[in-house]
């Protein structure tokens, strides 16, 4: 269990209880949304039909999907409100911002993978891959909520917008769902489960703790800051790194 703390190994707190709860929430939510949504998108597959019938029929599945969507929306709003509040109150650093360093980190990592550099990129609290996952799900989530609402209330929407908005929303909703699913299923699960450093499971999001050894390898800048006793440092060289994403600041607790 490489992902789990070994005996006597020094552990560092990485996630607060709120984040652990939030992760459980999103796991549950996306599982339901994917099961009920993708089975509708791929309705012609035998497995989808079996699943939909097991869940009580197409009408039930659609209602479960909508309620799970409402739950997801609430979670997303909570995430943003907490993040904005945390940053505004000065308790948290805007560590999830996409910065120029993320792009240089990606290039640096590529060089390392191809043997052109002797060490991987030195990342802060969240590396560029984690940020990519977060922002795709966050932005995709917004798109899903928006298009989902259009599909839920087509009569209301077509009172003010042209009718073609409905099939357009359907195209966006189903394609974006597939994109998020691939990022989650393919990448996130591989990184959190099958990655050789953490296999069989990266437990940090469940326990809240990460080993110092992994911290030193994956988040050396944050480790240095923690060990220097700076509780919530701004992102490294903040002055030179302008946010590249939308002005949504979130996550990044140093509790």
């Amino acid at each position: 269990m490489k992902g789990n703390p070994a005996e006597g190994e020094r552990m560092i707190r990485r996630f607060s209880r709120l984040r652990i709860l939030e992760h459980w929430g999103i796991v549950l939510c996306t599982l339901i949304l994917f099961a009920t949504g993708l089975s509708q998108r791929f309705w012609h597959l035998d497995f989808s039909q079996w699943l939909i019938l097991k869940m009580g029929g197409i009408d039930n599945v659609r209602w479960i999907h909508r309620y799970a969507g409402v739950f997801f929306t609430l979670g997303l709003i909570l995430n943003i409100v907490v993040a904005v509040a945390g940053v505004v109150r000065g308790r948290w650093s805007p560590s999830m911002f996409i910065t120029r360093k993320d792009f240089t980190d990606a290039i640096e990592n590529m060089k390392y993978y191809f043997g052109l550099d002797d060490h991987p990129a030195r990342c802060d609290r969240y590396d560029y891959m984690e940020k990519f996952e977060y922002w795709t799900i966050l932005m995709g989530g917004f798109l899903m909520i928006l298009t989902g609402a259009v599909l839920w209330f087509p009569i209301l929407i077509t009172k003010i917008l042209p009718g073609e908005i409905i099939p357009a929303a359907k195209a966006l909703h189903s394609n974006e769902a597939l994109l998020i699913f691939l990022i989650n299923a393919l990448w996130h699960i591989i990184n959190a489960v099958f990655s050789p450093e953490v296999f069989p499971l990266d437990t940090s999001i469940f326990t809240g703790y990460i080993s110092r050894e992994r911290m030193a390898r994956e988040h050396p800048i944050e480790l240095a800051r923690v060990e220097e006793g700076v509780p919530a440092a701004p992102p490294p060289a903040a002055g030179s790194e302008k946010p590249a994403g939308l002005p949504v600041v979130t996550l990044g607790t140093s509790e």
Binding site: N175, S195, P196
Partner: protein, 484 residues
């Protein structure tokens, strides 16, 4: 031993002689009196006139036919008591009616009412006689070529036996006084599908030996009862009809529900015809009970093509409603089968391609919201519960029997009409709402470009992203392995 053989031989010879005598007796010459009468009455064209008018009846007797008849052994005066060969009275009948009455009374001189009533066929005649309507024996029984009734064995087949009576204008009177004609036109019968059958194949219980007396409450009762005969041979079709809406109505006591004979006829059962003419005739059969539906159909794009152009590609009633197991079209189950019915032709390139119609109509419907829901409802109906919500199918937008071409100006698919149809299930929807449906078009740059661009963008971006992510993972694992 030799004595025994001799006796047997003698006995055999005697039998042969007796049999030969009997044969001769059967074919014996006519009586001397008949011979005398026939000297004149065998001549062609001999007629007798009635006194009151100039009408006449043939007075010719064909000697051979008379000789073979059951009455061939009689003297002419046995029936024609007023005439003798020596004294051929000048007596003339006043009219045809008197003549007919006189011939019947001649028969009744030998054949008692009890004897006549022994045959159930005669029961009705005797009854009518009591009511004042006297039957005339010679209407059915030829006067001078009367054949013996004992077993009817002289007929070469059963049909000939039955036709010996049923070629005449006869009627069966029902309890409600309705009359059922019993005359059968053999020449017509032989043109149709059942020309090789014997009468008793359908009229079971009747034969050359038996002719049971049956009375029916009404003519309709008789038709319904006689349709039961069909199942003896067409059991597969009969079992199908048991599942039909027509049988359901019939079993509720409504005798107006159609039975086999109503569509197929009784003696004039036609061969199955797949020609345009045959298909038109089929629609006419349904029209008998469903005139309003036929009226709509005949004005529809399908009906016009059938009737005006003899087009064989267009559907007729039975293509959608089937023939024998016709289901109630007002049920949800029937409603849910409609896309498949329309798809039988509209998704078949060999049928619709020549008219420039798209074959994607079924596919695009099934892939959209309504089609997907409908598909699940059909499955759920079998396994889960019965969804009561009807889902829009082809006919909800295009119409059913009154379906018009989508290009015509009064087409129900034009948006103004379409929004009304949408509002039936989606109350409050406005004129923008129908555009949520892509009208069977696959998105392309010319039709629904926004959807096309969105789908294409994802189609390009998704594989690139997936390949990128997989490469990142593989590189990571590879580097990890190299470092170890």
């Amino acid at each position: 031993m030799i004595k025994g053989k001799g006796l047997a031989l003698c006995f055999g010879l005697v039998l042969l002689a007796v049999a030969s005598q009997a044969g001769h007796a059967r074919e014996s010459d006519l009586s001397a009196q008949a011979g005398k009468c026939l000297q004149c009455h065998a001549k062609e064209g001999i007629r007798t006139k009635f006194a009151e008018d100039s009408e006449s009846v043939p007075a010719r007797v064909i000697p051979a036919a008379f000789k073979d008849s059951v009455h061939g052994v009689l003297d002419c005066t046995a029936c024609h008591a007023a005439y003798l060969p020596e004294i051929h009275t000048k007596k003339r009948f006043r009219s045809r009616e008197q003549f007919r009455a006189a011939t019947t009374s001649a028969c009744r001189g030998c054949h008692s009412n009890a004897q006549i009533g022994g045959n159930p066929i005669h029961t009705n005649f005797l009854k009518r006689e009591r009511e004042g309507e006297a039957p005339v024996c010679t209407d059915c029984h030829e006067a001078h070529s009367m054949t013996p009734v004992s077993g009817g064995k002289i007929f070469t087949n059963e049909k000939q036996y039955c036709m010996s009576c049923h070629r005449y204008q006869m009627e069966m009177i029902c309890r409600n006084k309705e009359r059922i004609p019993l005359k059968v036109d053999l020449s017509e019968l032989e043109k149709f599908a059942h020309d090789k059958l014997r009468c008793s194949d359908c009229h079971f219980g009747f034969s050359q030996e038996e002719h049971p007396k049956r009375t029916f409450r009404s003519r309709r009762d008789y038709t319904v009862a006689s349709s039961e005969s069909c199942r003896r041979c067409h059991f597969d079709k009969y079992t199908k009809t048991l599942d039909s809406v027509h049988y359901a109505i019939l079993s509720q006591g409504n005798l107006n529900a159609p039975v086999c004979n109503d569509c197929h006829g009784a003696h004039g059962i036609a061969h199955v015809s797949h020609t345009a003419k045959g298909r038109v005739l089929t629609t006419q059969k349904c029209r008998k009970c469903h005139p309003q539906v036929y009226e709509m159909y005949s004005k529809s794009v399908h009906g016009k093509a059938l009737i005006d152009e003899q087009n064989q590609d267009v559907p007729i009633c039975i293509d959608c409603h089937t023939t024998h197991d016709i289901q109630n079209p007002l049920t949800l189950q029937y409603h849910e089968r409609i896309p498949q019915m329309c798809g039988n032709c509209h998704a078949n390139p060999s049928v619709v391609a020549k008219y420039g119609l798209s074959i994607d109509v079924l596919k695009t419907y099934l892939a959209d919201f309504h089609g997907v829901t409908l598909g699940f409802y059909k499955k759920q109906r079998e396994k889960l519960y019965k969804p009561a919500r009807p889902i829009a199918v082809c006919t909800d937008c295009h119409g059913t029997h009154s379906i018009t071409g989508t290009g015509s100006s009064n087409s129900p698919t034009v948006k103004a009409n379409l929004v009304k149809r949408c509002q039936k299930c989606h109350p409050g929807s406005n004129e923008n709402f129908p555009n949520a449906w892509l009208f069977h078009y696959k998105p392309s740059l010319s039709k629904h470009p926004l959807i096309f661009i969105l789908n294409t963008a994802y189609r390009i971006f998704l594989p690139i992203m997936v390949i990128g992510l997989i490469l990142q993972v593989l590189l990571h694992v590879w580097r990890y392995a190299v470092n170890r």
